[in-house]
């Protein structure tokens, strides 16, 4: 059993927010130390940011406070948000320390962590939530993920944090999704598409489990449709190339000059950089940064190709939605423990089913217990077109009530 100290990087003991009203009044939210909360240790789980105290609130944190949420503290996290090694956001909910957890979702961290703990998780559309105050790693891919036992809590958080922010001019110039009115029964004629290529790598047992999940979807009123996406395997490659390149750039600011760990001795500045960065980063993130540096310095063509292919994947995925309302995927492979991954390859193995939504910027919802077997919960993951966050959460509500109905039976 984990203790409180194992779960928190920073535990908030301030009583200030408790009395405040608002839509999130009384809800305890745990964030991650890569989200700035004024005065809190914000080290993104890395020695490279050792001792860095945030100067101001991230927009998301400020909006949560305004909505009355009680910030329980920040959990522990995988170094710089790459993968789930050492991540405790979902555990904070499981251990009763929080009702809601915010986790950056760069390749599916929020959804996969939720699957391991029987929670709902929602990854918002890219660009609808401000990234101001997020100590990011992969800016064009990472998104905010919200975990909770109760989907209503996720919806309440999404309402509080979604929308434009003058502090983040990189948000696309478009109307953010309207989340004000989510509810009602499932609209008739909804179709769930299943990409047959994504089932290719699964074991017989996994396919069988996922099929039971799909049957439940059918019972909830969905028409199922198999669709083909020849290039499904490219999502992972594209994510790896672009993600590692952006990570290598983002981590460039961790040089020990202004904050964070600095190597104790060096003969000149270059050696100071090398020693500092060598001592600051763990092996897993180092491997990822090396990959990115390789593409930046030695194989830029591969990066350009990945950017071009990404554009095609985004268009082709959008085309699929001409025929289906949502796409259904398993959330994770059974037997692959994302938290135990020790190499970049193992990290990518563990997130191969969730990362497509990060490449395309689509919203994705993980619904627990739809495809659960003796070996664990594969999870049912639904992805909707970008900016269709409200509709996806609405579907989630229908499935949640179908699920609780089934459990009552």
């Amino acid at each position: 059993m984990r203790t409180t100290a194992d779960i928190f990087t920073y535990k908030n003991t301030s009583q200030q927010e408790r009395a405040k009203g608002g839509p999130l009044a009384g809800k305890r939210v745990v964030i991650q130390p890569n989200m700035c909360a004024r005065g809190w240790l914000t080290d993104a789980g890395s020695r490279a940011l050792e001792g860095f105290i945030a100067l101001e609130d991230a927009t998301v944190v400020a909006r949560l406070r305004e909505a009355g949420a009680q910030l329980a503290g920040s959990a522990r996290m995988g170094e710089l948000g790459f993968g789930l090694k050492g991540d405790t956001g979902a555990q904070a909910i499981a251990a009763g320390e929080a009702d809601i957890a915010l986790i950056t979702d760069t390749m599916g961290e929020a959804r996969v962590a939720a699957a391991a703990h029987g929670l709902f998780a929602f990854k918002a559309s890219f660009g609808v939530i401000s990234r101001f105050g997020l100590v990011g790693l992969v800016p064009s891919i990472e998104s905010w993920g919200v975990l909770a036992r109760d989907l209503e809590d996720i919806i309440a958080v999404m309402r509080a944090v979604t929308g434009k922010d003058e502090n983040d001019p990189s948000m696309p110039d478009e109307e953010p999704p309207d989340l004000s009115n989510i509810g009602g029964p499932l609209m008739k004629g909804q179709t769930a598409g299943v990409i047959k290529e994504c089932l290719g790598g699964l074991s017989v047992e996994e396919v069988r489990l996922f099929q039971t999940g799909l049957e439940r979807l059918e019972q909830a009123g969905f028409t199922m449709q198999e669709v083909s996406f020849q290039d499904f395997g490219l999502f992972r490659v594209v994510h790896n190339v672009i993600g590692s390149v952006e990570a290598s750039s983002s981590a460039g600011k961790y040089d020990g000059v202004r904050y964070g760990h600095r190597a104790s001795s060096a003969k000149h500045w270059n050696e100071m950089y090398l020693n500092t960065r060598g001592e600051s980063f763990g092996t897993l993130i180092k491997e990822y940064l090396f990959q990115g540096a390789y593409f930046q310095f030695e194989n830029y063509r591969a990066f350009e190709n990945a950017c071009r292919i990404r554009g095609r994947l985004v268009r082709d995925t959008a085309d699929l939605f001409k025929n289906v309302s949502v796409l259904a995927f398993p959330t994770r492979r059974l037997g692959l423990n994302a938290a135990a991954a020790t190499s970049a390859r193992e990290v990518y193995d563990a997130f191969s089913l969730t990362l497509p939504a990060n490449i395309t910027g689509q919203p994705a919802l993980h619904v627990p217990s739809f495809a659960r077997g003796p070996e664990g919960d594969m999870g049912m993951q639904l992805a909707a077109p970008r900016l269709a966050d409200a509709g996806l959460l609405e579907i989630g509500k229908v499935l949640a009530s179908a699920m609780s109905g089934a459990e009552r039976k």
Partner: protein, 475 residues
């Protein structure tokens, strides 16, 4: 063998916007170290860059002044390299999608003919921090001043159209004139707000090869640009004559020794698009609005001055090189002062006086009204040119009216015949041999005697009357 030089210039110009490029910190690199910093320009975790509208407008104005086409879409890239003057491991620069392309500047070539020098593109970028190397006792320490980090620059990349140090110097001069006109930049090479890097290669005359180039940096005046290029042309020519290959590298101009020396290669990294900086999408309305703010540029203005005010081409060019001077001239001319007289007084008296004091007109109390009044008084003959010059210097220092200065300073010229005659008589009596000289046919003596008389009058004698009296008495 005879070689032809192929020269291209990369010029960094600091924009004089009030803030840095991506944050609200003051754009004042010279302040107390690290005073003008914030989470964005220190690149603290969680900060996001916010492009300054003013910097974008000033950059656009500069591009328009250099006849460039503003691109409908431009974007920032991360130029990746690690150095302590970079707070984030990359510099934000528009590598793949620059703000503007395809401009040009006209110069008068060495043959006296107009020569058009093309500009390949202009992009925006942020400046880096300043490193200060000091000794703490016997330990060398390097300090970083982030005041300059993130201040707005444009880089103007020419085509390799220049063929001589002369071309390069004229290009820099013309570019500086154009940019100063827009009010977007101060363009001082001495203060580092305009920095020139030259790319130089040689080829046999008559060919159109583009050979390996050498980059030369660290010239802090236009003359140094010319000298460094001239030196490099000779150096490379000697290498080629010895059959030594030219290798791509960077050299620093040493202004003391007047040579270029190779510098340690600075690693140049890749350029990756930055997803956190908003793309710049230019709308027609916005561009129209910026275009409206573009002033009449010096070339066109000089033509108009010739036509409207009857100035010679040289006078017109002098009156239009600097925007402030050109506007001052025009205001004076519009107050009824003969334009050529105004131009001549501005060139020979006002501009040198300003230069001596290292100020611009607006930094002095002088107005076009008071300057015009001074020239009007001079025109009426109340004061002579010598006195007018004295009054002008006082106008630069106080805001009293020219009339008041003339009265109080007793600058009125002496036009009283008897007073002047007395002076002349005394001089003639004191210099009998010179008088004989003159009468012997040496006309130059008149100038000498006039000078003595003017001096004796304290500079106030009416020169026309004085001459009449001398002529009469010596006749």
């Amino acid at each position: 063998m005879k070689y032809e030089a192929v020269i291209g210039l990369e010029i960094h110009v600091q924009l004089n916007a009030a803030t840095k490029l991506f944050c609200d910190c003051p754009n004042r690199p010279g302040d107390e170290p690290n005073r003008n910093t914030c989470p964005v320009c220190l690149w603290l975790p969680g900060a996001l860059p916010k492009l300054s509208r003013e910097a974008l407008e000033k950059a656009t104005l500069a591009c328009l002044a250099l006849n460039c086409t503003i691109q409908p879409e431009s974007a920032f890239d991360q130029k990746v390299y690690y150095y302590p003057d970079l707070p984030k491991g990359f510099q934000l620069s528009q590598h793949h999608k620059p703000l503007a392309r395809n401009g040009w500047i006209d110069i008068i070539g060495e043959d006296g003919k107009q020569k058009r020098l093309r500009i390949h593109h202009i992009h925006m970028e942020e400046d880096v921090a300043k490193l200060v190397h000091e000794m703490e006792g016997r330990t060398p320490v390097s300090l970083v001043d982030f005041n300059r980090a993130g201040t707005p620059l444009i880089e103007i990349v020419s085509e390799p159209d220049m063929r001589s140090p002369y071309d390069a110097m004229e290009y820099v001069k013309a570019l500086r004139t154009q940019l100063r006109y827009t009010g977007s930049a101060d363009c001082s090479m001495e203060q580092g707000t305009l920095r020139v890097d030259a790319n130089i290669s040689l080829r046999p005359f008559g060919t159109d090869e583009l050979n390996t180039k050498v980059e030369v940096k660290n010239m802090n005046s236009i003359r140094n640009v010319g000298d460094a290029i001239a030196y490099e042309i000779v150096r490379q020519g000697e290498c080629l004559d010895r059959d030594e290959p030219i290798v791509l590298h960077t050299r620093l101009w040493d202004p003391e020794k007047r040579v270029t020396m190779p510098m340690r290669g600075k690693f140049s990294g890749p350029c990756v698009p930055d997803p956190s900086v908003a793309r710049i999408v230019v709308t027609d309305d916005w561009l129209k609005d910026i275009r409206r703010r573009l002033p009449e540029m010096p070339g066109r203005k000089a033509e108009r001055f010739s036509k409207e005010y009857g100035l010679t081409p040289e006078e017109a060019s002098n009156m239009s090189q600097e925007r402030e001077i050109s506007e001052f001239f025009e205001e004076v001319a519009r107050q009824g002062i003969p334009p050529r007289k105004a131009a001549s007084w501005i060139t020979t008296h006002l501009v040198p006086a300003l230069r001596d004091r290292d100020v611009t007109i607006t930094e002095t109390p002088l107005t076009s009204g008071r300057f015009a009044r001074l020239l009007a008084i001079l025109e009426t003959g109340v004061i002579n040119a010598h006195a007018a010059k004295e009054v002008l210097l006082q106008l630069l220092a106080s805001d009293r009216s020219p009339d008041e200065i003339v009265e109080k300073g007793k600058y009125r010229q002496v036009s009283d015949n008897s007073e002047l005659e007395a002076i002349v008589d005394k001089i003639l009596a004191d210099h009998p041999s010179d008088v004989d000289d003159f009468r012997g046919g040496n006309a130059k003596v008149m100038g000498f005697l006039m000078g003595l008389a003017m001096k004796a009058s304290g500079g106030k004698a009416n020169p026309r009357l004085l001459k009449e009296i001398f002529t009469k008495k010596l006749g």
